[in-house]
């Protein structure tokens, strides 16, 4: 597939824009809002829809069932016409995402930890992988700015982090958190109320949380900080244009090897050319390499910005086993944000263990009546037939569940390529995932499972069991166009500009060098603010 200036003349061509952003999710929204002050002409193309709050599952009695249908994690099951398929048959973890204005923030838990300082220095501190070209302290002011715009519930003073000040009080501990906290204190292990991007008070026009249930499949109340209600209203007020249902097929280049625009399909399916002075990719760690690999030309036969050969490689998916147990008393169930607290007891490298790096323990409330039944049926806890009702009553609203957020180190054989057969609804080659878990990650995961089981046992739980990977793809798609100083070992430089194409930027999770053991959205957005700031500071020499 090639695209040139000449061939683009055969298509309907839109007016030139200064900045073209591909993807309206966590990082694309940040770029739009931050760059708007430059008064450049900015356009964002998003393949998905705007999702109205009235469309979220919590509005209806089938709200739990819709988590397995049009709000499923997997695009392969969700199958909206705005989704693209992903061949993840050769991966023990399945790809989770959401395509729409807000992207993955529509379908995330709102757990909002930052990366830790050590996460940016894994080579220096622990002798593995590579250091990032930037550090925590570079991002610190952008973390704070992002927290202010997003609205983060939490509590200052966590000894596991440099001091920072969440903007709202933490979500309630509830019965579930109290139970966990007693167990953690008995064990003498660290815990702290999580940073969560849910409004616990009214915040910048957003209503406060009324505990509709887990936040993951969208928030009908508008308390969860998905970027369609945080960054995007600000960007649109500042005259950024956002076109939904526009799917980009490829990024085109000119005779100078610079990005010239994109070929995309408009909502009616018409193939169009959108010229741009600068292109910013914000399509997540699978969508971004897919688009780069689909953007071949005589000058870039292996895909755009791929002289290093690293586009699509080093995919990190965050193995995230879930360990559940059941107590005799009724707990919170699905009343309130899913996550209540975290533990960093096992986060930093400990030489006495048989693995390097570490993990966060994420303490979750239980789940609703339908999801309890389905997940317990699949786990083998809930029998069919005559004993069904007795056992179910031992389970419903009595679940404690701990997630182990394992740091997943980069390995080139874990990768995104183009599937030779599978295509999306517009005939664009779909991504193919190859992914295996390393020995280090496996040992880390088993360590975390054992510690979580110990916590649940201390909390008085029975029926303790673990779901290792298949049900727990967290949708953290990282590392496939990483940043670095060396063009031979990285795709973008230390402020997000592609080494090979100087007017092409990447701002999503693709640019992560390592993955940390935390949910990535807070850091993805801080990174986007940092890159936007660099663009603004360098406008006069941006493409030099």
């Amino acid at each position: 597939m090639t695209a040139s200036v000449e061939s683009n003349m055969e298509r309907p061509t839109d007016d030139m824009v200064d900045v073209l952003i591909i993807g309206a999710g966590a990082s694309g929204a940040v770029m739009a809002a931050s760059l708007a002050e430059t008064r450049m002409k900015i356009l964002c193309l998003e393949q998905g829809d705007w999702i109205k709050s009235s469309e979220f599952p919590a509005n209806g009695r089938d709200w739990e069932a819709r988590r397995y249908a049009d709000f499923d994690f997997s695009p392969n099951r969700r199958m909206r016409d705005t989704d693209y398929p992903v061949n993840d048959d050769n991966s023990i973890m399945k790809v989770a995402n959401f395509n729409g204005v807000g992207g993955g923030t529509i379908l995330f838990t709102a757990h909002y930890p930052r990366m830790h300082p050590s996460d940016f220095r894994v080579r220096t501190l622990d002798g593995v992988a590579e250091d990032w070209p930037i550090d925590y302290w570079t991002l610190e002011p952008y973390f704070a700015e992002n927290d202010r715009i997003t609205g983060v519930a939490g509590l200052a003073g966590d000894p596991a982090y440099p001091l920072h000040q969440p903007t709202m009080p933490p979500v309630p501990l509830g019965k579930s958190g109290t139970r966990y906290a007693k167990a953690m204190n008995e064990l003498g292990w660290h815990w702290w109320p999580s940073d969560i991007s849910v409004a616990t008070t009214e915040y910048n026009g957003r209503a406060k949380c009324i505990n509709l249930g887990h936040c993951t499949p969208g928030c009908a109340q508008g308390a969860k900080a998905s970027v369609d209600i945080t960054y995007w209203p600000q960007a649109i007020r500042d005259r950024v244009e956002l076109r939904s249902r526009c799917r980009v097929r490829e990024i085109t280049t000119n005779e100078h090897g610079m990005a010239s625009g994109v070929v995309y399909y408009d909502p009616k399916g018409v193939e169009r050319f959108q010229p741009a002075e600068m292109v910013i990719l914000a399509a997540n760690g699978v969508g971004t390499p897919r688009l780069l690999l689909n953007s071949t030309s005589a000058r870039f036969p292996d895909g755009l910005a791929n002289s290093s050969g690293l586009v699509g490689k080093n995919l990190m998916l965050h193995p995230w086993p879930q360990i559940a147990g059941y107590v005799e008393d009724e707990l919170d169930g699905d009343r309130g944000p899913m996550t209540v607290m975290w533990s960093k007891q096992f986060y930093e490298t400990d030489p006495s263990r048989d693995f390097v790096r570490g993990y966060t323990l994420q303490f979750n409330r239980g789940t609703g009546p339908v999801n309890e039944a389905i997940t317990s049926m699949i786990a083998g806890r809930l029998p069919w037939g005559r004993d069904h009702h007795r056992r179910y009553r031992e389970l419903v609203y009595r679940r404690l569940q701990i997630g182990v957020a394992c740091e997943d180190l980069p390995e080139e054989h874990n990768r995104v390529t183009l599937d030779p057969v599978l295509k999306d609804g517009h005939g664009i080659p779909a991504p193919k995932i190859d992914y295996t878990m390393s020995e280090n990650t496996t040992r880390m995961m088993e360590h975390g499972i054992a510690r979580a089981s110990e916590i649940l046992g201390t909390a008085g739980a029975k029926y303790i069991g673990c779901s290792r990977t298949l049900l727990n793809s967290p949708g953290h798609l990282l590392g496939t166009a990483r940043m670095g100083l060396d063009p031979a070992r990285s795709v973008v430089n230390e402020w997000g500009r592609c080494h090979d194409v100087k007017n092409l930027f990447i701002v999503d999770g693709s640019i992560w060098v390592t993955s940390g053991g935390v949910n990535p959205t807070s850091t993805i957005q801080a990174l986007a603010l940092y890159i936007a700031d660099n663009i603004k500071k360098r406008l006069a020499t941006l493409f030099d």
């Binding site: 919590a58 300082p117 309630p172 702290w192 009324i210 505990n211 960093k344 049926m377 037939g385 009702h389």
Partner: protein, 159 residues
């Protein structure tokens, strides 16, 4: 956009009869708990209407059931039919899990079932739910811990 619905017409009359009987074995009525079974007319109608993405998997599971039964499932005696149902449900097969999901997602949203569990049968929005604060004094044991994060600025990497 709600859950995609399928018409019961996608399943044959025989498949529907078998599915209803099978659902009754999967989650039986229980007078002690005051609950209907999943073969109850109202719940079963919801199951059939809501098969959606699982319709084909359910058809496949029903074909497996027929193979296990070796004769018409609906005409079998209760003991043999229950044994065939349990043999199917004991299989570790994705289509059996899909069948289970199709039944459970409707059973546990039925008003009568939810009331028996003291759960109010309403959509979460707009009413919302109560969540108590819990015991924040438990955090006192953690507040005075020494710094746990590694400061990469000291050049040592030590905790």
């Amino acid at each position: 956009m709600g859950v995609s619905k399928t018409s019961g017409a996608e399943l044959t009359t025989r498949e529907l009869r078998n599915l209803q009987r099978l659902a009754g074995f999967m989650v039986p009525a229980d007078a002690a708990y005051g609950v209907p079974g999943a073969g109850d007319e109202i719940i079963f109608a919801d199951i059939v209407q809501s098969l959606g993405r699982d319709a084909q998997a359910v058809r496949t599971a029903l074909a497996m059931l027929q193979e296990i039964a070796g004769e018409d499932f609906c005409s079998m005696g209760a003991v043999k039919a229950e044994a065939a149902a349990m043999a199917l449900l004991g299989r570790d097969d994705p289509v059996v899990k899909a069948l289970g999901r199709a039944v459970l997602q409707c059973y546990y949203r039925d008003d009568r079932v939810l009331r028996s569990l003291n759960i109010e049968p309403v959509a979460p929005f707009p009413k919302g739910r109560l969540l108590e604060q819990g015991d924040w004094s438990l955090l006192d044991a953690v507040r005075d811990r020494p710094q746990m994060w590694r400061d990469d600025r000291d050049g040592q990497g030590a905790t």
